[in-house]
């Protein structure tokens, strides 16, 4: 699925997982993808968003507001006991190597420690980023296509963007003209 993503676009996806983890979410949501669009320094999506009047701080604040604490992954549950799972993992990996906790039976049985899955809306947005690229006859999936995917799919990111007047049609035009400019 990700083989046609550029390095920058892959970075966005990876950072979205990190963002979800930091907000202690059980799943990656479209807001996490939106926030992550601002992270790669060479991503066109961040420029497009700023030009449309959506600054990173706004997206961050909205993502915070929407971060669900329901369905917190184990790291969050352990934090309620004062246990820092990241620190435990770090110590364990020093002795037993990277991914040691996840390789145990207990680690594999429950999606314990690392991987955070995409929720249905963010999965859909990623699929649609592919379709948006095809529509523009672009061979690669870049950060701006992820942005279009987020505007196309139902989800928190679209709500945030639409509430600030950013529409799919306008952004499609902006991405297309980006191409013409080279």
């Amino acid at each position: 699925m990700f083989e046609r993503f550029t390095v920058t676009a892959r970075q966005v996806v990876v950072m979205a997982q990190e963002d979800a983890r930091e907000r202690r979410q059980a799943e990656i949501r479209t807001e996490n993808l939106l926030v992550s669009l601002y992270i790669p320094p060479d991503g066109a999506a961040a420029d497009l968003l700023r030009r449309a009047g959506v600054e990173r701080e706004v997206a961050e604040a909205e993502a915070d507001r929407r971060a669900q604490t329901k369905g917190v992954p184990d790291a969050g549950k352990l934090a309620t006991l004062g246990i820092d799972l990241d620190e435990v993992r770090r110590q364990v990996e020093e002795t037993f190597g990277p991914g040691a906790l996840e390789r145990t039976q207990a680690g594999r049985q429950r999606r314990l420690f690392g991987h955070i899955p995409f929720d249905p809306a963010s999965k859909k947005a990623i699929e649609l980023s592919l379709r948006e690229a095809l529509r523009l006859k672009h061979k690669e999936i870049r950060s701006e296509h992820i942005l279009l995917g987020l505007l196309h799919a139902e989800g928190g990111a679209r709500e945030i963007l639409e509430s600030r007047g950013v529409t799919l049609d306008a952004m499609r035009a902006a991405v297309a003209s980006l191409e013409e400019a080279g």
Binding site: V72, D74, K77, L78, A79, T80, L81, G82, I83, L85, V88, V92, F96, A100, L101, T104, Q105, A106, G107, Q109, R110, L112, F113
Partner: protein, 71 residues
């Protein structure tokens, strides 16, 4: 500081959802750590009796639990 206060508040939460879920997560972490340490001990040539002694469980229990994992 604010975060420490928040954690303390959650730890003393009377909400069973929060408390029980934390216990379940702790158990999963404990299971995972135990498996790593038992595997390590076996790799270093420890007997099941030695491992059981330090873990403070019966030899039968630890053997039965981990033999199937190929340790």
């Amino acid at each position: 500081m604010a975060e420490a206060t928040a954690v303390a508040a959650a730890a003393s939460s009377k909400d069973p959802h929060v408390g029980l879920a934390a216990v379940a997560a702790l158990r999963a972490l404990q299971e995972s750590l135990e498996e790593l340490q038992v595997g390590n001990a076996r790799a270093q040539g420890w007997s099941w009796a030695q491992i059981a002694g330090v873990l403070q469980v019966s030899k039968q229990a630890v053997h039965k639990k981990y033999r199937r994992l190929g340790y």
